[in-house]
């Protein structure tokens, strides 16, 4: 069902934990739907020097969080803003269609942490005002027309 890459990031997730006095913290998803992601960012100048996560969710939610942290660690804020859910899924060698929302959550968790950073630091981040945080948390389910 999952790629080896997903399983590897699920069993040995990178960057699990919290950052004390993080420059930005973001949380998306909700427990009712079965997944919550929280991201912590340490930002120095415009570079993300450290990133940690905590996730409640299925295997692909944990793997997506782990991969997303790897993809933005050491990158600039601008580069982190450019990270798409597709890039996270691709880096994991793909996710099953019903699990694509996990990669969406990972992208949103980063952006949510950047919103927090922007608020705290007063640094304006281009493109952030356009982000639509999907509170309804739409899962990407294949629809059965017959039902």
């Amino acid at each position: 069902m999952y790629s080896e890459k997903v399983m590897e990031h699920f069993t040995q997730p990178r960057n699990v934990g919290e950052i004390e006095n993080a420059d930005g913290v973001g949380e998306v998803g909700n427990a009712k739907c079965g997944d919550i992601m929280r991201m912590y960012l340490k930002i120095d100048g415009d570079v993300i020097t450290d990133v940690k996560f905590k996730t409640f969710g299925c295997g692909s939610a944990i793997a997506s969080s782990s991969m997303a942290t790897e993809l933005i660690k050491g990158k600039t804020v601008k580069e982190a803003m450019e990270l798409t859910n597709k890039a996270v899924a691709d880096a994991l060698d793909g996710l099953p269609p019903v699990k694509m929302h996990c990669s969406v959550l990972a992208e949103q968790a980063i952006k949510s942490a950047l919103v927090d950073y922007s608020k705290k630091s007063g640094v304006k981040i281009e493109g952030l005002e356009d982000v639509d945080f999907d509170d309804e948390h739409l899962h990407d389910l294949p629809e059965d027309e017959e039902e």
Binding site: I36, K54, T55, F56, L141
Partner: protein, 407 residues
């Protein structure tokens, strides 16, 4: 441990050697169509007749009350649709419960679209039907009560005899989905006033794709599958002889060894339940503490999600199942767990371990030991758990008691 530890026996079981041995000649040696007249076909006919007797004996029925089908889901579909269509002049109301298998629930939903009226009874925190509520739900137009014998997820066994009495008293037909119960629980269709009973072979060490529907003699029912005179004009299609032979043998073996098997399974079950409760905090046993299937263990582990738990167990060679949304392919976690009053976020963290004849005490101990580490690892990753450690969340008791608020 190198070998797989299989604890998903409520999903399916391996075919027993003795069962397979009985089946094998009916593939290539005695392959005759039982509807034919020559000698070869009489072998097939006799084999079906023997199996019918074995199944009938297992549940206290008469031979001519057993109809072989393509499995439990077909039996459920047939029982409910067959009764509904045949008795629609008399009434159009069906009573069932919210925790039935989808084979029953989806059939009832389909009938609702055809103009039938369905009452879905609530269950209590253990998954038990309330008999007073059942009796109150019966109306002049009620034609069928369909209540499962034992629940596939949480293992709760319903008061079937009492339900049968109520049905009889009000002259309403009573169907029970006994897919999880046959071969695990003593059943007597007469003593329990059961009019229709669904069963499946692969849950009791028989083959997949075959089962039976018990229909009390004299019960009027429409066929589900038309096209031939098989099963006394009630279920068309050339018989799955080998499968039917396997079904008969599996039922016979299950009831021959029922007492010893159940003693063993209950002891393993209690060991597993105690082990989990002793070693892991913030857990809840789902289902009834005593009135449950001998091999069923179902827990919620708070703050973690069921699929992550299953994947982790699979990595250490343990096969189980979960009622989390992520394993059901839908947005919501199991309808059964929601029906017993669990909040969504807790229902997402469920794990069912269903024990079978091959499981041992060593395996149970290994699973508990592995679970302890897995749950701890996943909780350390969970943003819900650090709120608990910070003391912000009330958690539920370790026992079977009522849930405390989780948020």
């Amino acid at each position: 441990m190198d070998k797989m530890i299989y604890m998903d026996n409520s999903a399916t079981t391996p075919v027993k050697k003795e069962v397979l041995q009985e089946m094998l000649p009916y593939f290539s040696e005695f392959y005759g169509n039982p509807s034919s007249v020559y000698q070869l076909s009489s072998k097939s006919k006799l084999a079906i007749d023997k199996a019918r007797g074995q199944v009938a004996k297992g549940i206290g029925a008469k031979k001519n009350e057993i109809y072989f089908t393509g499995g439990g889901s077909e039996s459920d579909n047939w029982a409910i649709k067959g009764i509904a269509y045949k008795h629609k002049e008399k009434g159009n109301h069906i009573i069932t419960t919210k925790i039935e298998h989808h084979a029953v629930l989806h059939t009832c939903e389909y009938l609702q679209k055809q103009g039938f009226e369905v009452t879905y009874l609530d269950v209590d925190q253990y998954g038990m039907v309330n008999l007073q509520e059942l009796e109150k739900a019966i109306k002049d137009n009620t034609i069928l009560i369909s209540i499962m014998f034992a629940n596939n997820e949480i293992g709760t066994v319903q008061p079937i005899k009492e339900i049968g009495e109520i049905a009889r008293k009000h002259k309403v037909l009573f169907h029970t989905d006994a897919v999880q119960a046959v071969g695990s629980i003593e059943i007597d269709v007469n003593e329990m006033n059961i009019d229709l009973l669904s069963m499946s072979a692969h849950k009791l060490y028989g083959p997949k794709g075959v089962g039976a529907l018990y229909i009390r003699q004299g019960t009027r029912i429409d066929p589900l599958i038309a096209g031939g005179a098989q099963e006394r004009n009630k279920r068309a299609g050339t018989e799955n002889i080998a499968g039917i032979v396997g079904t008969g043998k599996a039922v016979e073996l299950a009831y021959e060894h029922l007492e010893e098997n159940n003693k063993r399974l209950v002891s393993l079950r209690e060991r597993l339940i105690r082990g989990i409760q002793d070693k892991i905090p913030h857990v809840r046993l789902n289902g009834h503490p005593e009135k449950r299937l001998p091999g069923n263990v179902n827990f919620c582990f708070q703050f973690i999600e069921g699929e992550a738990l299953l994947l982790s167990l699979d990595m250490v060679g343990v096969a189980g199942s979960s009622g989390s949304a992520c394993t059901s392919g839908s947005l919501d976690p199991s309808h059964v767990l929601l029906s017993i009053g669990l909040p969504h976020e807790i229902a997402h963290g469920s794990l069912r371990l269903s024990l079978g004849l091959s499981n041992t005490e060593e395996e149970v101990d290994y699973v508990v030991e592995q679970l302890e580490g897995i749950v701890e690892r996943l909780r350390k990753m969970s943003p819900l758990y650090d709120k608990v450690q910070g003391g912000n969340i009330n958690v539920f008791r370790k026992s079977n008691g009522a849930l405390h608020s989780a948020t």
